[in-house]
């Protein structure tokens, strides 16, 4: 696994390497290199199995983290290729030409995070939602509780407790602190 990372380092600039397990590594690359690194891993390093593509919203940094997770089914290795893109008008190069199922992940990201993948097939069609006219729901600024209370007629009388406080009251009512 180490030599693979070194091989990538000779061709692309990697900003961060995280070792999770002996056979699972995560690397951070620049946005412009990401699809090339994935293509390189697929064609040269035999990471022929594409597991997932997902986004993580780092709202405090103003960035989306995209993770391409690939695995090598012969040597049983996993590698995650991370890249950070801007949150505003997020776009990313499409990787639909590499695997057939990549387009599905990109469709979901477009709908749930608002990340555009120009050229990806059917990327503008709604995937999970129907008739959604708010901001993409998986963005962290979208408040699901507020939206639910405004839209779906909450049943009156429902109370919400903080679990820590509630358990303390239930289990140790006499304890002071």
């Amino acid at each position: 696994m180490k030599d693979i990372i070194e091989n990538i380092q000779t061709k692309f600039s990697i900003s961060e390497v995280t070792k999770q397990r002996d056979n699972q590594y995560f690397i951070s690359v620049e946005k412009k290199d990401a699809v090339q690194v994935v293509t390189y891993l697929k064609d040269i390093e035999k990471f022929s199995n594409f597991i997932l593509l997902t986004a993580v919203d780092w709202i405090e940094k103003g960035q989306f983290q995209l993770t391409y997770l690939l695995s090598d089914p012969i040597n049983k290795l996993d590698i995650g290729v991370r890249t950070f893109i801007e949150r505003e008008n997020a776009t990313m190069d499409s990787a639909h030409h590499l695997w057939e199922h990549t387009a599905t992940f990109q469709r979901e990201l477009k709908e749930m995070f608002g990340i555009d993948f120009p050229g990806s097939p059917r990327v503008d069609e709604p995937f999970l939602l129907e008739g959604w006219d708010n901001i993409p729901p998986m963005r962290r600024e979208f408040d699901t509780k507020k939206y639910s209370e405004e839209t779906y007629f909450p049943r009156p009388g429902r109370t919400t407790n903080d679990p820590a406080e509630h358990m303390k009251k239930k289990l140790y009512p006499n304890e002071k602190k």
Binding site: Q20, Q24, L52, W99, H101, A103, P137
Partner: protein, 397 residues
């Protein structure tokens, strides 16, 4: 690919549409040669609550599009508002027929991020529950393959036996479908007294059922005629479409997380997943039928090898204030349908930053099914869907 030569018939495809330069079919709905129908969501032949938009000519499918999202609950959004331990009651609801893979993946992910080693007893108990969960899922879905072609009797037997396994689950965990038995650090309890004997009694019934099901379904002439050669998947699609689990094994590609990335006690157990190269519905049914027998065998091995007592839970920080260390991890386990993975990102706070589920149906039911259904007969849709064992809730979460 096996050919069913008796009654083999090649339809006249001369009037069918031709693909243009961009690969899209030239389908003009106003020409009255094609009909667009919605197969589902309220259709008895569709597995779960999903739908297919089909363009058909005669009874042959020209184009199909999968529509999902009928079960979308926004779990991954809700986890932004839940602490790590509060995720457990909802995470099991991500996949209804086989809920234990979810709780296993989440707890093992948290343990890996926090660096917790679980005791040996917990390892065995987790293996036992995962295997029981696999058995109950198979008891429902293997006879259902016959059910899609009109053979309802096997379903009646299988669901009854599945219920007996669910009774054992109820005894062990308190719940029939959703167990929430595995928690970070181990499991919630030890086996009740006499549990193994009662499970063994049920397993004897399953043995008998497997024999009967072979006579009823796998040796049935009509079943063979309908399934042999139908729903063919070439082996080179496996990496192209991200096929996992028994579907890949049916195409002749060995994929089983229990063997490839041994977890829990699976490296101490003796088993061999079945393979086939026929890659049709019949082959996939036989593989799952064999999986069922393997599962029974594994349960017996686990019960014989597991320690009788011991610590079943490692100490963890107070779960109500637990701040799981920063990091990201991908964990996987083998569900009935194939590799079932969780991608977990923690930012070091009380709440998870991201928990993403990658289930096998995500590719099986969308990109693969859309491709497989082209030129299939409309009466085979249900059989093809059950042979891929698509499970909509894990696509849409």
């Amino acid at each position: 690919m096996r050919k069913n030569n008796l009654f083999h018939w090649t339809p006249d495809r001369s009037a069918f549409p031709t693909a243009g330069a961009d690969g899209k079919l030239d389908i003009d709905l106003d020409s009255h040669k094609f009909v667009k129908i919605w197969h589902g969501p309220n259709h008895p032949g569709v597995t779960g609550n999903m739908s297919l938009e089909l363009t058909i000519s005669g009874d042959e499918i020209m184009e199909s599009k999968t529509h999902v999202g009928y079960l979308h609950r926004g779990f991954e959004k809700l986890y932004e508002r839940r602490t790590w331990i509060q995720c457990f009651p909802t995470v099991v609801r991500m996949c209804v027929p086989e809920s234990d893979s979810n709780e296993y993946n989440l707890s093992v992910g948290i343990e890996e991020l926090a660096g917790i080693e679980i005791p040996e007893m917990a390892t065995w108990l987790r293996t036992l529950t995962l295997e029981m969960s696999r058995l109950q899922a198979l008891l429902r879905i293997v006879p259902a393959q016959g059910g899609t072609l009109g053979l309802g009797l096997g379903v009646q037997w299988g669901v009854y036996l599945r219920d007996l396994i669910l009774d054992r689950f109820e005894e062990l965990t308190g719940g029939r479908i959703y167990h929430m038995y595995m928690i970070p650090g181990g499991v919630r309890g030890l086996l009740p007294e006499g549990f193994k004997d009662r499970l063994e009694e049920n397993l004897k019934l399953v043995d008998e059922f497997a024999k009967n099901l072979k006579r009823l379904m796998l040796d049935n002439a009509v079943f063979k005629k309908r399934t042999i050669g139908t729903g063919y998947i070439p082996a080179d699609w496996v990496n192209k479409y991200g096929i996992v689990g028994f579907v890949a094994r049916g195409a002749g590609v060995m994929k089983d997380v229990r063997k490839d990335y041994p977890y829990l006690a699976y490296d101490q157990l003796d088993f061999e997943p079945t393979m086939s190269t026929d890659s049709d519905i019949y082959a996939r049914t036989v593989i799952r039928w064999n999986d069922m027998i393997t599962s029974v065998d594994l349960l017996r091995q686990i019960m014989a090898k597991m320690p009788t007592k011991g610590e079943f839970r490692a100490p963890t920080p107070n779960v109500l204030h637990w701040e799981v260390p920063k990091g990201e991890v991908y964990v996987r386990s083998e569900s009935t349908r194939g590799e079932y993975g969780f991608y977990i990102v923690s930012d070091g706070s009380k709440y998870p930053r991201r928990i993403n589920l990658r289930g096998p149906s995500y590719t099986h039911a969308v990109s693969l099914l859309e491709k497989m259904l082209v030129n299939a007969n409309i009466s085979d849709i249900a059989a093809i869907m059950v042979s891929l064992q698509t499970c909509p809730p894990e696509i849409e979460r």
